[in-house]
Amino acid sequence: MFHIVVCGGIVPDPLQTLEPVKGPAGWGLKNELMLPSILDPWASHALYEAAHLAKAVPGSKVWLVSLGPKAKLQQVMMTVAQKAPFELVVADGPAGGFVDSFEVAEALFAAISGIAGLDASKLLLFGGWQSASRGSGSTLQILGEKLGITDQFQGVDKLTVGADGSLEVMERIEGGAYQISTCTGAPAALGWATGELPEPPNNPQVGMANMRLVMPALQKAKPAAVNAAAIDYQSVTLPAQKRETRVVKDTPVDVIAQEIIDWLAS
């Protein structure tokens, strides 16, 4: 059996217009609290994989550890909690993606260390390989090290558990290839890419069961000790984008590829 801890923050819902601004507490997003938010899509894959694994391996349990403003987390939980069974652990803090990844890892470490009954020898630390909010790809690695986990995998698309508890992990590597590694078992840290599972349907019964623990977790959430001054940014810009929207259906792949080549060439 596994104790699976999934680390997942919240990010603005896709397509939102984002505008970085510097305030008294450092960099953030303009109107961030007005934007609808979702669980970071990379972490979502990790959560679905965790729930799938926990269902397959009897006795396993899933915790979702999240650093974010608790009012916003409460709202996001209403879109997540019907998808998979988990117990929420909240670190009340910023979620804009501007906090130094070491500070985030420290806050998550503190939250995980406070989980009662967590057995480190059975721990699988899950998270997103990247993040939709300025992910540096380093938080999970730092957190893994702080937890003393030496078997770490990034860009994971598949995890197979052997009968002896060993883990066979398929990771994305350069050139579009995969690397398959095996380790003897937990503890291990896995930064998930997209995984192989579709988004589960909303199950109201799962939602009702989760909410019995989500609301108390939100109510007793402690402010996370993150130091916004630990990192400074000389400048912050959004990726440049050029919009030329057309909606064309059933276009052959070759035509799409040629358009992209033409665009790059221009």
Partner: protein, 618 residues
């Protein structure tokens, strides 16, 4: 997971809008203490407070709604501590204007008296004492008391809903689940015993596909229906029960809006509220509310009594924004958000049975919108508060949610309130618009100023009876041969007709600036952030395909707020793209063909669906 699951709860609610916000806010105060402990016990989970679950079809509790100007009497009464500064995009009203806009292009369809009035204004407008004619517009010197919102609030309903929803959930008294469309009520022996959620993991036609999960049955002692003017649960109850004698739901409007970052030179101060009449067509009303942060919420209402078969709200909205009176301060602004929704404008005339065994109706779908005062959110909220008080009373007394008990508690409160009194005054205020714009304005003033004692009477007809053919509407302006040519060309390209027809009668082309004047598709992506999760069936379908094949107007395509319904080059039945639908429901009542099953309905079926707008600033 192929068996339909069932779950029991105490109260199940459908749709999270202002009415449900009022209901849950009031209910929460009655069933849990401030420390979260139970005032009374659930019957399904003993030891806990009554279990209250609310299902909302949109993907978040703050998306898919609209800007508001409101006296906020009911909201303030139930939230006396309300500080507008605590809610983003909320501010007290500081200034109100009603403005008549003259057509600068001569392209709109105006009656002779209106043309004469416009000519007189252009010629002599600036010379009349007290008449402020400037930028082809007149600011009316007087706002009738029934219209003014002095002392009220203007705000984003999306942000308000987010604030209310989060406040309610923090009490622990209710769970509000977004992205959970409710397909239908469960009716057994003429009693509503709960709701059935929409099937998931199905294809466009609703057939089981990967990850199929039949929609769960959620059974409850009380079902609270607040799913708005086009909600499937409210309409299913109406279809099962019919409407009370003499009532009809024939009057609608689609409200389409932008939220705009105003340019630096714009002098409008926060809290300014502007209502416009007269342009882009006399029948189309406009609104502009200036919110905190140099932001404006603005848009138009296209009503069901606008007898134009190519009633495109989007193109008209772009012309309206470019009227000289508005454009001088909007030019250079940038879109932040876009959205559209249907308004149920039948009001008291369209009121359904408010209660029955096991259910109660609140909000816009229950006929709360007041078309005389131009107010709906406060009325909807108040109806929810009234039901909340009634339910707490029944729970305290241990009485069942029968039709009789709900009548004595909820309906009695509603009948005794200002909502009812004002709804009665407004009931016949808009009848005269069926006879034209000028009779409509006179009739409204007559009713408003006499507090309902007088009206300009006119017969009501279902929308499909009002919509003329395209040839009739453009008679004398575009020849039948030209319309046939335009129709053939547009159909072959999969386009709607309105752009070609409007160009033909003199509407100037829209010169996109990439900021505020953008394509409809870009408005969906940049403004509405429209998305749809896979695994749900198409929620817009056509009852009789042959009726569509024979239809020459296809108003559903022209009026679609998201370009989700499009011309089908291979068949006469329009195509529907769920991923572009904003769920405004305009297709439901804009269809020009009656249902064969019920002539009060149309040939469009509008079911429960997930997805849609993802902007919470509307």
């Amino acid at each position: 997971m192929n068996e339909r699951q069932s779950m029991e709860t105490d109260i199940v609610c459908v749709g999270f809008g202002p009415a449900m916000g009022g209901f849950l806010t009031t209910l929460a105060k009655g069933i849990v203490n401030e420390d979260g402990s139970a005032v009374m016990e659930s019957t399904v989970v003993p030891g806990l407070p009554p279990q209250v679950i609310c299902y909302e079809r949109a993907d978040d509790i703050g998306v898919g709604v609209s800007g508001v100007v409101s006296k906020a009497r009911g909201i303030r009464e139930s939230l006396p501590e309300l500080d507008p500064a605590c809610i983003p995009l909320c501010t007290p009203i500081t200034e109100e204007k009603v403005v008549y806009l003259v057509d600068p292009h001569g392209a709109s369809r105006r009656s002779l008296p209106l043309k004469a009035a416009d000519a007189a204004l252009k010629l002599l407008g600036g010379k009349f004492p007290g008449c402020r004619y400037k930028d082809m517009a007149v600011e009316l010197p007087y706002i009738p008391p029934f219209l003014e919102k002095h002392g009220g609030l203007t705000f984003s309903l999306g942000q308000f809903n987010q604030w209310v929803g989060n406040t309610v959930m923090a009490t622990g008294a209710a769970q509000i689940w977004p992205a959970s469309p409710v397909a239908a009520p469960i009716i057994e022996h003429r009693k509503v015993v709960g709701v059935r959620l929409a099937d998931q993991g199905v294809d466009k036609a609703g057939k089981p596909d990967a990850a199929y999960m039949p929609g769960m049955d959620v059974r409850a002692r009380l079902t609270v229906v607040g799913d708005g003017p086009v909600g499937p649960v409210g309409r299913a109850i109406d279809e099962a029960r019919g409407l009370p004698m003499g009532h009809h739901q024939r009057d609608y409007a689609v409200g389409m809006k932008f939220v705009v970052d105003l340019p630096g030179n714009c002098p409008w101060k926060v809290g300014t509220v502007i209502h416009t009449i007269g342009y882009p067509e006399p029948e189309i009303f406009g609104f502009l509310y200036v919110l905190p942060g140099h932001v404006a919420s603005l848009g138009i209402f296209v009503p069901s009594w606008f007898d134009n078969p190519v009633r495109t709200a989007y193109r008209y909205l772009q012309h309206w924004m470019q009227h000289p009176y508005l454009w001088k301060y909007l030019k250079g602004g940038t879109i932040r958000s876009f959205g559209a929704k249907t308004l149920q404008e039948s009001g008291k005339n369209g009121e359904p049975y408010l209660v029955g065994d096991g259910y109660a109706r609140i909000g816009e779908g229950s006929g709360t919108t007041n078309v005389l005062t131009g107010s709906g959110v406060d009325e909807a909220w108040t109806s929810g508060v009234q039901l909340g008080q009634a339910v707490v009373e029944l729970l305290e007394k241990g009485l069942p949610f029968t039709s009789e008990n709900l009548e004595k508690t909820y309906v009695a409160r509603r009948r005794a309130s200002w909502v009812e009194a004002e709804a009665k005054i407004a009931a016949r205020s808009r009848e005269a618009f069926a006879s034209g714009f000028i009779p409509g304005i006179i009739g409204m003033a007559l009713t408003g100023l006499t507090k309902g004692a007088l009206c300009w009477p006119a017969d009501s007809e279902p929308v499909h009876k009002r919509i003329p053919s395209i040839e009739e509407y453009y008679h004398g302006r575009i020849s039948c041969e030209e319309i046939t040519r335009i129709r053939q060309e547009a159909t072959a390209k999969g386009l709607a007709l309105h752009d070609a027809l409007m160009d033909k009668v003199g509407w100037p082309e829209i010169e996109y600036d990439g900021k505020l004047l953008i394509s409809h598709q870009d408005a969906l992506l940049l403004g509405g952030k429209v998305q749809a999760a896979p695994g749900y069936a198409d929620h817009v379908t056509f009852e009789c395909p042959d009726t569509c094949r024979a239809c020459a107007e296809k108003t559903c395509i022209e009026a679609c707020s998201g370009q989700a319904i499009t011309t089908n080059p291979d068949d006469g039945v329009p195509l529907f793209d769920r991923e572009k639908c904003v769920h405004c429901g305009a297709c439901l009542w804009n269809c020009s063909k009656p249902s064969k099953a019920d002539p009060e309905r149309t040939n469009v079926r509008f079911a429960a669906g997930a997805g849609g707008l993802h902007s919470a600033e509307n």
